[in-house]
Assembly symmetry: C2
Homo-oligomer: 375 residues x 2
Amino acid sequence: MKFTLLHRDGNARAGIISTDRGEVPTPIFMPVGTQGAVKAIEPRELEEVGARIILGNTYHLYLRPGTKVIEAAGGLHRFSGWDHPILTDSGGYQVFSLSELRDLTEEGVQFKSHLDGSLHLFTPEKVVDIQRSLGSDIMMVLDECTPYPCDEGYAARSGAMTLRWAERCRVHAARTGLPESQSMFAIVQGSVYESLREQSARALTHMEFDGYAIGGLSVGEPEHLMYRMTEVCTAILPAERPRYLMGVGTPENILESIERGVDMFDCVLPTRNGRNAVLFTREGKLNMRNAASAFDFSPPDPGCSCYTCRHFTRAYLRHLFKSREILALQLATIHNLTFYLWLVQSAREAILQDSYAGWKSRVLEGFSAQATEAS
Amino acid sequence: MKFTLLHRDGNARAGIISTDRGEVPTPIFMPVGTQGAVKAIEPRELEEVGARIILGNTYHLYLRPGTKVIEAAGGLHRFSGWDHPILTDSGGYQVFSLSELRDLTEEGVQFKSHLDGSLHLFTPEKVVDIQRSLGSDIMMVLDECTPYPCDEGYAARSGAMTLRWAERCRVHAARTGLPESQSMFAIVQGSVYESLREQSARALTHMEFDGYAIGGLSVGEPEHLMYRMTEVCTAILPAERPRYLMGVGTPENILESIERGVDMFDCVLPTRNGRNAVLFTREGKLNMRNAASAFDFSPPDPGCSCYTCRHFTRAYLRHLFKSREILALQLATIHNLTFYLWLVQSAREAILQDSYAGWKSRVLEGFSAQATEAS
């Protein structure tokens, strides 16, 4: 993997991540394909909406279908029919949020599967091996994602262990040899404590990873703290490596974080909100179940050129949601992902034209127009 | 609407139904779009799988979103984004199968909505008016679909009333003027009684409808009776009008009925079975949840050229179904509808080549190969 920083506009960056499976323009949003599929959308439609890289979840894929099936298929790309880049998380986040009976030690984290209660151990070395089996283009180190709130003492001890785990991942990858096509990102932790974030970012920078994620945010903390922690990290992280803000976020969050130097994002919001009838539009969120749409034969987002907006009306989408038609989920997902990809593509163009701040203000202003309609 | 009978091979027929919205080659299978959408598939994908005409349900669309919304949208085609032909049923079948509190009189049938318990009356005249609002290319008369078993006395009285209702539909359409683009099919009833079927088919033929459906079959009666009733009807119905066997059926049922002179079919089997993980293949039904597929990286149906079979494996589909991914429903629906449309298209080619009987035997032989795997 190679990262080319093309241009800066303030702290906002436009670049290109080059992988064996294609180039990814940054800033970029990665649709979430938890179980080897982005929910309610086909791989060919992911291409159509502008997705260039998607995310897979190690925790889920390890438990089902399991690495044996995916290895036999020739890796996650061939298994899932997506031959563009894939980033896999380390499974750490899901171990802490989904599984029961977590036993966290220096060695790693033992957990009980949320599917069948079976016991498993994730160590830094093991998650590297699993992600090697998956064949992801970008793999993540194992980390502990601290909850919010989290006292400083715990955050410090956890952050220190996350650093030792990152080093173990790096050493294991070096020792066992990772395919040229696979790169590894570290994850900055430290909860909402500036000094801990700084320590983490510095230490990881010294270890020289291919890229750096900022983890443990968007877990319930106030937005101003998310933005503050983000800028603390990006001020330290090396300019020549991509920065990935994990699990973020709303369109507003993404624009604010791009302004603070973030290059990559992933979030379930566009897909999950879509399935819950909430569409993101240039004029804010639109709840398709609202009666206001019953006789509204305009497109969900008149400024959008996606399949959904070109062919269907608000009235029809409302009918599909009220009637619990699966097509509602498909059309909403197509639109919301198109919107998110449009957002980062447009941000990129604005950065390249040194007009990011003004563009961002205009876009955010537009969002407030229909804010009252959102669910 | 114009029907051109191109060729006969025995009693099997190849033809073309010409409508203002395009030509429909027959024999044809019509995917079922109950609520203004075929479940789990986009209109552009319906075109891709070879659908040329789809079915809409008057009962459902009348209750939700209601004719006012669909009229305001400019008709069902514009509302749903499907600009090829649509056939709408009369709602009779759903009144008897879904609604509560049916009060059947000579005037019509009063029923309570399955959605909100509201009371409604369907008369022959009213269902014509509703279907006029929907703007369907082919509308159906109101009928009573008798259950199975049904004693001969009831079937006779019901069949006689269905004839009177058909005449009322015809008269109402003539009196109020139906757009040139809309045609009307009558429905032969008579349960499993040959003489009643003959009476019904003769009487309706005299009334001169644009096409003729055979209703009240595939409701639980033995298959040999379905086939017998079908051939009794097709022997009487006018050769120069299309014949439509309502709600049928399995691939075997369709091939047997084509051999008996049927031109049109609709059924929820391919879409519903697909959503239940059962795929139709050239080698019989395949339950995608079976463990046998866990490491099977071949396409669901190696002879099929649909999007699903070109890009995905049995192992992946099994994983999607086990993981309850919506994509499973989408991919299975695409395949099953492609299969059904392939079946009728191939039947048509065989008829045109005077080789229907031999082709049918070979296809049916193929189906038995994996029959034991079906759910």
